[in-house]
């Protein structure tokens, strides 16, 4: 990433600016750029996929999704890609990955699933089992949240100081 883009990424990580009327003006002020320069570069980063999405993120349980779980599935490797892409299309699946299996844990596809109630979650899991053609899974319900934060890219402290 170019230095200018790194500066822009840093400015955009100040989340409070997005709760003001004109967020990109705020970013421009922080950077000493014109708002046109900010908008053009933000669009550029979005087009390049560096920004994969711009918008609001929910806390599912506070938005009516009371039953959320990470479900890990055991799907034969030959069918894993197909099963993963089918499950990812389910509207109540937010994350879907293939990961390595390990000793005592034969599951290779991880899905984050969001339901309105335990019954709703069970229904979704049934639908996913049909899509994956597998009934071998483990529900890794979260019992306690120790940490949940957004990653910080290019923290300023890591920047070499000019002499």
């Amino acid at each position: 990433m170019e230095k200018r883009d790194i500066e822009l990424v840093r400015a955009l990580q100040n989340e409070e600016i997005f709760l003001t009327e004109r967020p990109f003006h705020e970013a421009a002020r922080m950077l000493g750029w014109t708002v046109e320069e900010v908008l053009e570069r933000v669009r550029g980063l979005k087009e390049a996929g560096v920004i994969r999405r711009f918008g609001a993120a929910l806390t599912p349980r506070n938005a009516g999704f009371k039953s959320n779980s990470m479900i890990a599935w055991d799907v034969p490797d030959l069918r894993a890609e197909e099963a993963g892409s089918l499950m990812a299309e389910h509207p109540r699946v937010s994350h879907c990955y293939i990961r390595p299996r390990f000793e005592g844990f034969p599951f290779n596809i991880y899905t984050m699933v969001h339901g309105n109630s335990p019954e709703d979650l069970a229904r979704i899991v049934d639908e996913l089992a049909a899509l994956a053609a597998s009934s071998s899974y483990r529900a890794l319900h979260s019992l306690r949240e120790f940490k949940k934060s957004s990653p910080v890219y290019y923290p300023k402290a890591l920047e070499p100081q000019d002499a």
Binding site: Q13, F54, F65, C96, I98, H114, F146
Partner: protein, 154 residues
């Protein structure tokens, strides 16, 4: 549906999860589409943030496109050592999620850093400081979806 989310909140949420306008007056833009003022949209969004419905508004970066590397890790920690080991793990800024989950292993956390080597270093340190046995490093072999875009009020 959450009782404190009304029809306009749901419309705003469903629109804003998808795409925040990249323009000078994004809230006015959203308001125009929904038939309310930009100020009204912004007030609603601030309210949703205050009530914890919205966790963040802004850009979501593709870590890989910025040459960052991420992984999911798991280890098993006996109940009586849980607080201590979880605190060691959560102290790393590179650890963004850390959850106690049902079953074995029971502690699951994500690490995002500037290189695989940096991740390996953190994992080794956690193994040494945590003293709770080996950490399973489970980097994604394939990512199909990473997007919380849940239709509210359906």
């Amino acid at each position: 549906m959450h009782t404190s989310i009304d029809g306009l909140d749901a419309l705003i949420l469903n629109r804003m999860q998808g795409d925040f306008p990249i323009c000078e007056d994004p809230y006015a833009d959203i308001g125009l589409a929904l038939g309310v003022s930009g100020q009204e949209v912004l007030l609603r969004v601030r309210g949703l943030v205050d009530r914890g419905v919205v966790r963040k508004v802004g850009p979501f970066f593709d870590a890989r496109k910025m040459q960052y590397v991420s992984t999911l890790c798991a280890l098993h920690v006996p109940e009586k050592r849980l607080e201590e080991v979880a605190a060691v793990i959560s102290a790393y800024p590179e650890v963004t999620h850390n959850y106690l989950r049902a079953g074995t292993p029971n502690l699951w956390f994500t690490v995002i850093a500037e290189s695989k080597a940096a991740i390996q270093k953190i994992i080794r340190e956690i193994e040494e400081k945590g003293g709770a046995g080996p950490v399973r490093d489970l980097p994604a072999k394939k990512m199909f979806k990473v997007k919380v875009d849940l239709k509210v009020g359906e």
